[in-house]
Symmetry: C2
Subunit: 151 residues, 2 copies
DNA sequence: AGACCTATATATAAACA
DNA sequence: TTGTTTATATATAGGTC
């Protein structure tokens, strides 16, 4: 796109490829940021380099956007892969988190309070919270996998 | 950026904002697509317009990237929000999802099997799965909020 | 709403520090 | 690696249809 028009195909030279990845990733994050600011939108960008490194941008936060996306997904709005656009249906009068109250999810994991599997989040240590968080990620994957089987 | 230099701030006019959102979203997806092709990378972009519409791009697929991100996240690599970069540590010789087995997260929600709060995912109906999924989203937010308090 | 236009702002490949 | 520099390709604001 520049000194000479380049074809959009895989760069073979490893060093060059990584340099381009870094530059373009920065550009991509900047574009995402501008989109959020200018349009008061929410967006998340997640990238993995070929080397396996992860980079993410999110506004208001990566997790916030992913959670919202998950809830949309679960509610039926599909997400195209591969450069195509998504829904864009009618009004879509916003998404509300169910109702915030009364949810008492507890975790019983071999590594996590075997005897007392009903601790409240407010009473957990950081270590316990992190374990619960990981357990939930795993559970999430299982639930989604199971849902797909039933659809 | 164009006929005249524009400030990167919120566009007040609703129609204009939406037009810009559409154009910039298309540009963002294109950039993401080019990054993937040129650098053989994986990337996902998720956006929500102010109106609440969801749009997503992913290579090789939105879900593939999100799943990979989840596993990274659970394994400790943090994800900055707000336009900043992520890890980029040493070799990062790939990521494996912990080990899939032994996790027995259960949900007890007023709307979800009050009497039996220890159902296995494999035995749940679609409706129950969706409720559990929503409950987990909510729990996730609470856990993260609590973590932030402790950090 | 979209599709096209066009002038200008940006992004960026290549080279080098 | 990370940051220049520079020439050129793209993206896009503001129109028009």
């Amino acid at each position: 796109m520049v000194r000479t028009k380049v074809e959009i195909k895989r760069i073979e030279d490893k060093a060059k490829r990584h340099t381009t990845f870094t530059k373009r990733r920065q550009g991509l994050f900047k574009k995402a940021s501008e989109l959020c600011k200018r349009c008061n939108a929410e967006a998340a960008v997640i990238t993995f380099s070929l080397a396996g490194n992860a980079f993410a941008f999110g506004h208001p936060s990566v997790n916030a956007v992913l959670a919202r996306h998950n809830s949309y997904d679960a509610n039926g709005q599909p997400c195209n892969d591969r450069g195509s656009v998504d829904d864009d249906d009618a009004e879509s009068d916003a998404q509300k988190v169910p109702e915030d109250g009364g949810v008492v999810v507890v975790a019983s994991n071999e590594d996590l309070n075997d005897e007392d599997d009903d601790m409240k989040v407010e009473e957990m240590s950081m270590e316990e919270l992190e374990k619960l968080d990981s357990a939930m990620e795993e559970m999430k994957r299982k639930v989604i996998a199971q849902m797909k089987l039933l659809v």
